[in-house]
Symmetry: C2
Subunit: 304 residues, 2 copies
Amino acid sequence: MAEFYVQILGCGSALPTTRHLSSSQVVGLREKLYMIDCGEGAQVQLRRMHLRFTRLNHVFISHLHGDHCFGLPGLISTLGMLGRKGDLHLYGPPGLDEYLRPILERFAKGLGFQVVFHIFDPGRSELILEDASVSVRTIPLTHRVPAAGFLFSEKPKAPHLLREMIDFYQIPIRCLADIKKGMDYCTPEGEIVPNRRLTRPAEPPKRYAYCSDTAFRPDNAALIQGVDLLYHEATFLEADEERANETRHSTAAQAGEMARIAGVKQLLIGHFSARYEDEEALRTEAAAHFPNVLLAKEGLLVPL
Amino acid sequence: MAEFYVQILGCGSALPTTRHLSSSQVVGLREKLYMIDCGEGAQVQLRRMHLRFTRLNHVFISHLHGDHCFGLPGLISTLGMLGRKGDLHLYGPPGLDEYLRPILERFAKGLGFQVVFHIFDPGRSELILEDASVSVRTIPLTHRVPAAGFLFSEKPKAPHLLREMIDFYQIPIRCLADIKKGMDYCTPEGEIVPNRRLTRPAEPPKRYAYCSDTAFRPDNAALIQGVDLLYHEATFLEADEERANETRHSTAAQAGEMARIAGVKQLLIGHFSARYEDEEALRTEAAAHFPNVLLAKEGLLVPL
């Protein structure tokens, strides 16, 4: 399993079909799971994909449309029945707590854990989570209701120690943590061994951006510049651009254009309208702007 | 397709598994669909089973546990997006409206149809719906929260006209409706032809009873006496009877015993605990009390 990956639980738009469930996905990073959006059925998808519920501590909701959050009451009830003790952190726009609290009070009294709400202002980019592995910022989006995407930035990893050099200088174990932090080593004879002779730099940290649901927002290009993977909604084909504008969604062409101007490494499109039987047309349209395009699909796992 | 049938959308208990979804089923009767319970994912199951949303006008909720009603917000939102105009009638215990109204106000503003709540007292058997095809009564149940089952009684059907006798007496079309209603026919010559010579009685009306979630309630036997089909929860095996008592659920043995004392024609058991991999053990246990037992399964359609 990759150290950092995205797995799709659902990638349909508002009307569920037999092909796609409502929006939900997980970001896997160093043994933790971060869920983005939680449409109806997300908890069953977690089961189907054998993702352990105990790894999940953070859920990010992009906006308050039912197809992005109607799976929360069931997921939280299930976590309660499974005997969860640790806090569950929910991040979302204003109203998430007013929506969810009365439901939890009615249906999930006596939960063995706290649901901690982190309400953000979707109008600007905010740092909403920072832990040892990752920082998460919001990405302001334009939709019919306040909405934000999420930028996951992996924390820099410690450099690798060069085993043969550690052995050569017979460096005691107690000094290794400092060397990992970048310090030089001073031998008992007083010789200074520079850090760069003892370590190899870690892989550069990776970044993932989630932009759904949203109209075309080229002004976000700077914020997500060069990310390793961009999930961008592509609800419509360009032929239905008028409908996209009315409903504040993007076309596949706009998703491709966004990937191009942001110079991302790979584009993953989803949130497909139920009207398209042949999603290959959406891929082709996006690929005319940006060649490296993947179509989202339930179960798809993309390593970063 | 049978005129009167039950189809299972979900028959698991509270914890969803890869084998079973949460509780939901539809009763099909003379082109109409009546939904009983609406766990998460019910709307996707309707799609999978190619059941037309427009046939659905009545939803019955047995009790306010999430695995029996968390599918309602998504189902109602979807009906709105599909352009529904006709009223949707929801039947449930007190609290159903307080749960649902705020969610609909937040997520489904501008629905093109009315959601009409019919709140019943789960403590006694009430007639809650009567239309041209069916009457529906509640069945008082015993669970951790107020709960009721539902007894569907088909309305008697008009007798069949005997085509050859109608032709023999050259009865005008305008007289046929009266004959269907039971009237005799008077020929132009003044001869009285008794109704029983012109018609054949319709099939006797059928009845379906849904009892879930509930502890063993033998006092309900009179109410559901002789029904054509009884759906009864069988959450646990007898070996786990203590757990069944604690949680106010039934064992498979109790479901079988209920079918026996109520003299039903067929028993369908469901609401299986996630702990049992082998549900055949549940069937065997129920069958020791009542031989004609079916195991519920997503997609199963049982004609009455």
